[in-house]
């Protein structure tokens, strides 16, 4: 585990550009897929292998290319170069209606002139299924999303959450081999979103369909996906399980993009097989694993806010893995509190403290505090 971090951190270029997961038995394989609009490459040589039954999330901010990639999977855009292989079959030249892939649109795209029942049955009718089969399947789908009583309503007579479920039922009705979700929770309000996240993934898992979802919402990606890819400027910056991406970011971009993080620039002063030490002008960081680096190398150290402990009393050792400063801001989030500490060297440290006691200690603004963390909590980043 320790060795993985240095190797990934050592790469100057985006970590997952290396086609590490090349596997001919992969369910969905994307091979150096590129889409250019004029001079700009919206999707730049993206390769990934996705397993059968996996829920894979593409996470990135607007303009990173995730939607374009999804649309190429669906067939609404033709790639400039590269290929898409579904169970070994090249599909990138097939039209959308020829692919065994279905998409759930962000705006749901329900047919306003058809009832819920007709919307769900739409795809089945196009494939000329016998009537009884269509009826049975539609009923199954409506039961799956619990919308049976609304079968005769038109989309405009439903709430946002209900419309989403119709869209889901419609996209699952044809039992596609690959399900694509475009910002599935984007149109819902916050409360509904949390509830729907679990419902959605449980329905998808129960059906067992392989799923690729696109989102700009980290929480959505982390809760729903088995694996996710962080995208920026058309390429994958890091691919891995949500936990891996959060706890072991490959570079500054990912560390900063996911959640909140404290970053410190420093130089490598000690490097052994079981530990290394990085020094910044004001502090000394002792990291619990070695990296194969060069003495004096410029590095960053990443520290997540929840891994820090605050105390008004100085700890036994204040020279290593201990930061010292004054609280300048305290925000209460209910489950936790976020404190901003102005450190001696001008940096701001963000610390997240769980409110595990109802009448626990509240650190007032202006208090002098000591922030301590373990050697294990630090992540060394090269780029």
């Amino acid at each position: 585990m320790a060795a993985m971090t240095p190797a990934a951190a050592g790469a100057a270029t985006p970590a997952a550009a290396a086609p590490a997961a090349y596997d001919d038995s992969a369910f969905l394989r994307v091979d150096r897929l590129t889409k250019r609009f004029g001079e700009v490459a919206a999707v730049d040589e993206v390769s990934i292998a996705i397993r059968k039954g996996e829920i894979f999330a593409l996470l990135g901010s607007s303009g990173c290319g995730k939607s374009t990639l999804l649309r190429m999977l669906a067939g609404f855009e033709t790639p400039s170069s590269g290929g898409i292989y579904l169970e070994g079959q090249e599909i990138s030249r097939l039209r959308p209606f020829e692919r065994p892939i279905n998409m759930m649109f962000q705006s749901y795209a329900l047919f306003p002139h058809l009832t819920v029942w007709e919307n769900v049955a739409f795809g089945l009718k196009r494939h000329k299924q016998p009537r009884e089969r269509i009826e049975a399947q539609v009923e199954r789908m409506l039961n799956l999303v619990q919308l049976k009583p609304y079968a005769q309503r038109k989309p405009h007579q439903l709430s946002g959450g209900q419309q989403q479920r119709v869209a889901l039922a419609r996209s699952l009705a044809l039992e596609p081999r690959l399900l694509l979700l475009d910002e599935p929770l984007g149109a819902l309000d916050r409360k509904l979103r949390a509830q729907t996240q679990f419902e959605l993934s449980s329905i998808i898992k129960s059906v067992g369909v392989t799923c690729v979802l696109v989102t700009h919402d980290q929480e959505e990606a982390m809760t729903m996906a088995d694996r996710m890819a962080v995208m920026s400027h058309g390429s994958f910056v890091q691919v891995g399980a949500p936990r891996e991406i959060y706890e072991t970011p490959a570079n500054r971009f990912v560390a900063d993009f996911i959640g909140t993080v404290n970053l410190f620039e420093g130089v490598l002063v000690e490097d052994e097989s079981d530990h290394c030490v990085i020094e910044t002008p004001a502090w000394r960081f002792y990291v619990g694993h070695g990296i194969t680096g060069v003495m004096g190398q410029k590095l960053s150290v990443a520290l997540r806010p929840e891994k820090v402990e605050l105390s008004t009393q100085p700890p036994p050792r204040t020279d290593v893995n201990c930061l010292h400063g004054r609280v300048v801001e305290g925000a209460y989030f209910g489950a936790s509190s976020l404190y901003r500490v102005a450190l001696g060297d001008g940096n701001r440290l963000q610390v997240s403290v769980p409110n595990s006691e109802r009448h626990g200690e509240v650190i007032k603004v202006g208090t002098e505090v000591y922030a301590t963390f373990s050697a294990d909590a630090l992540v060394v980043l090269v780029s």
Partner: protein, 335 residues
């Protein structure tokens, strides 16, 4: 503590004064409460329509049930011996209902109008559809080109067709010169020449409402249809056309209703076979100078048009009542 001035209407009494508001202020408050401002604004076109449409129509209706008396009409109402008599001369309507010429003319007017509507729909729909496919920067220009004919005189445009289709008009001259025909083709004064004129004149009325509806169509719906297994051709019939229903009906009404009463085109381009009701009307007024008869013809014509008009009106208010709320309730939109 708020002074009376700070929490009352602009025309409030002098601050601190306990005297009642002046009469003008009271009147304004009274009118505002009864929404007279709004009513008077709506009232202006309403009064206009009553004066210049309803009243003349009632006059025509009255003439249609009167008897001619030289250059005047006998009174409908007569008061004698304490009895109020109302004489409605209904023979004109009886005649209309039974005379084969009139019945045929009415039927043919409706038929020609229907044919015109259908042809305009078949030409106008692809026209409007491809307008929506054009680059957004190009579309206003296309709309302008479609409505450009309205900038010229309607009469002149019909005359222009005469010049084109006549025995010695442009087309025939060209055909003879190219030696494709020995003699000029007889194109004028036929139902075909009239239909050409009708379609030409009414096409913009079909295209513009259709364009208005089609341009608002959500392209995502077509993508969804494709994703679910429809070819683009089928998606057009299953999604685009049903959703443009409002435009189709609006365009059809705008073409059909005026076409029934069309006068100039049948007169200038049509022939003896294309006798339409408006021509009959003209004849009754100006040739036979039989005003009661003519008025009866006019009233019947309005009655004929009333049916599709009422249907159209009901449909429009139905569309507005449903709110045409096709988007998801939460702000999904085009994000």
């Amino acid at each position: 503590m708020n002074t009376p001035a700070s929490c009352s209407l602009p025309e409030a009494p002098v601050p601190g004064a306990e005297a009642a508001a002046g009469p003008l202020a009271r009147l304004m408050a009274f009118l505002r409460a009864r929404r007279w401002g709004r009513k008077s604004v709506i009232g202006i076109p309403y009064v206009f329509l009553v004066l210049f449409f309803s009243l003349p129509f009632l006059v025509v209706l009255k003439i249609s049930v009167s008897e001619a008396d030289g250059v005047q009409f006998k009174d409908i109402f007569e008061f004698s011996d304490g009895t109020l008599l109302m004489r409605l001369h209904l023979s004109n309507y009886q005649f209309l209902a039974t005379d084969p010429l009139y019945l045929r003319t009415y039927a043919w007017s409706v038929c020609y109008a229907a044919i015109n509507t259908v042809i305009c729909l078949f030409i106008g729909y692809p026209f409007a559809y491809f307008m929506t496919k054009a680059r957004p920067s190009l579309r206003p220009i296309l709309v302008m080109l479609v409505s450009l004919p309205f900038w010229t005189s309607y009469l002149l445009r019909i005359y222009a067709w005469k010049g084109l289709l006549d025995d010695h008009g442009v087309i025939n001259n060209l055909l003879v010169w190219l030696q494709l025909v020995d003699e000029p083709l007889k194109m004028m004064y036929t139902p075909y020449s009239m239909m050409i004129g009708m379609v030409y004149t009414y096409l913009p009325f079909m295209i513009l409402p259709l364009y208005g509806t089609l341009v608002k169509a959500d392209p995502r719906l077509l993508e969804a249809a494709g994703d679910l297994g429809t070819t683009p051709w089928k998606a057009f019939w299953l999604v685009t056309v049903p959703l443009s229903k409002a435009g189709i009906i609006a365009g059809s009404m705008l073409v059909f209703i005026p076409s029934v009463g069309e006068y100039v085109i049948p007169e200038l381009l049509g022939g003896p076979q294309t006798l339409m009701i408006a021509r009959v009307l003209w004849d009754e007024y100006f040739q036979n100078v039989d005003w009661p008869m003519a008025s009866a013809v006019a009233v019947t014509m309005i009655g004929l048009i009333l049916v599709p008009l009422v249907f159209f009106n009901r449909y429009q208010s139905g569309v507005q009542g449903a709110g045409a709320d096709d988007e998801p309730h939460a702000a999904g939109g085009a994000a």
